[in-house]
Symmetry: C2
Subunit: 138 residues, 2 copies
DNA sequence: CAGTATTTGCAAATTTGTCGCAATAATCTA
DNA sequence: TAGATTATTGCGACAAATTTGCAAATACTG
């Protein structure tokens, strides 16, 4: 994991610094995080500006990317680390869950775009609703 | 159209005011707009703060909703006015095109979510790539 | 049309994201 | 591994985006 990180950084000529490792640590194996969350979790270690710069750099290096959810956006590691997937966003508790990609669905999405004379390069599917926990009768 | 607008507002106990009509007019029948665009188009008629408040109110009343595209978000009228559809976002020219919903695709999305023990209430699919115009050989 | 409740504009305050630059840490070379 | 070179960080100042309080204006009700 760290090796992949190092490799992706090196590919772009970036170095693996302490702040970058910290930000990566905050993202690894967690649900997508908002900027505020990342900044909060690293507040005593890294400056706000560095967090923004790091995220931007991670995006350029294909390490992390933005996920648009409702108003805000959240950051998560790319499919290199997480595999391609979509998201289930619970409108009750605000959590975001990964939904493993379904090959048939992927194909259909590309097909539908192509039929509209559009050359698809990627997509993002966000499903809104209630997670298992929030739809339980209280 | 205006009647539907009035009805949706009344349903929530909101009144149909001049500023709300103006904002509605800016959104009706157009591509999704960014906040900056809406504010710009109404600058000499409505205060910025009112635009923000109106959009928020439109969201609550199911009149308009936010569409997340790349970094920014855009506003468009809901399916009540526009029908359910997805979006093709051209990464070259930045335009956003509607993609009429495909029933089979819709079904598959709901199914996939349900299988993950999630109760889907809606979804948003953004496809990124090149529009017909931008993929032409120049 | 008056009375009441809602909504607006304005100005100020927050929040969010960016930038320049000197200090610091990482990388490279010998 | 020391020393030179380059990339990166923290800090403070900015700039942009969004929110809020409140008095004045507008819409709705009877």
């Amino acid at each position: 994991m760290i090796n992949t990180l190092r490799a992706l950084l090196k590919q772009k000529g970036y170095s693996l610094t302490k702040p970058r490792l910290i930000v990566f640590g905050v993202l690894a194996g967690k649900e997508p995080q908002t900027m505020a969350e990342i900044i909060g979790l690293t507040a005593n270690k890294i400056d706000r500006a560095t967090v923004y710069r790091t995220i931007e750099l991670f995006e350029q290096a294909g390490i992390a990317h933005r996920l648009n959810i409702g108003f805000k956006y959240k950051i998560e590691l790319t499919e290199v680390f997480n595999g391609h997937h979509h998201h289930l966003h619970c409108t009750a508790c605000g959590r975001t869950f990964p939904l493993p990609a379904n090959p048939m669905l992927e194909t259909m999405i590309d097909t539908v775009a192509s039929k509209a004379d559009f050359a698809p390069r990627g997509h993002q599917l966000e499903i809104y609703g209630l997670c298992q926990n929030c739809s339980k009768p209280s």
